[in-house]
Symmetry: C2
Subunit: 112 residues, 2 copies
């Protein structure tokens, strides 16, 4: 049961880390080799590769190797899925807030 | 360093679990006592309380105790923050896709 993770589980988990969010932010501007991606971070390459593996496992990035160079690409569909879930929650919340406002306005004046 | 978690870290971590997302989905419809929230889940109460603690730690819910009843409320601001981050990423991605489309259209016909 514990290992039956849904795409939302793995995507939100992948997004819960500043290094992984920074990698996504970088790849949204275009594909990049692993070495260039790792450049700005002070952590060792093995630790950085683990972050990439989490992103790839969540379907947020994919990578391909040509010769000695592994290049990463963003795969934005899963980001859209997470945003869509959050938008659905907001719609529920907004609908409730609107109904509460209607209820308040429909109260006869002077009644509490 | 590891413990310096930002709101986005803790919110996305909290959302990475189906039980916690279900609790949020329930609380968006209105406040509820812990017992009623726990009802639909087969896990034990201690395990469920840990999920609530993660949600509360992320600022997604808050709770108050009156007598013996602890009632939970949603706090939708942090959800909005996560949605906003994802919307920003989509804007970057969309901007890049639009620029690529413009580039393709601006190519002289017949040139590859």
């Amino acid at each position: 049961m514990v290992n039956q993770q849904t795409p939302l589980d793995t995507v939100f988990h992948a997004l819960a880390d500043p290094t992984r969010r920074a990698v996504i932010g970088r790849l949204l501007h275009g594909a990049a080799p692993v070495k260039a991606l790792a450049g700005p971070f002070t952590m060792g390459l093995p630790a950085f590769l683990k972050h990439l593996a989490v992103l790839e496992g969540a379907g947020l990035i994919r990578s391909e190797k040509r010769g000695r160079v592994r290049t990463c690409h963003i795969d934005a569909d899963r980001l859209a899925g997470a945003e869509s879930w959050l938008a659905d929650q907001r719609a529920i919340w907004q609908g409730r807030a609107d109904r509460l406002a209607d209820l308040v306005e429909s109260q006869p004046p002077g009644k509490e």
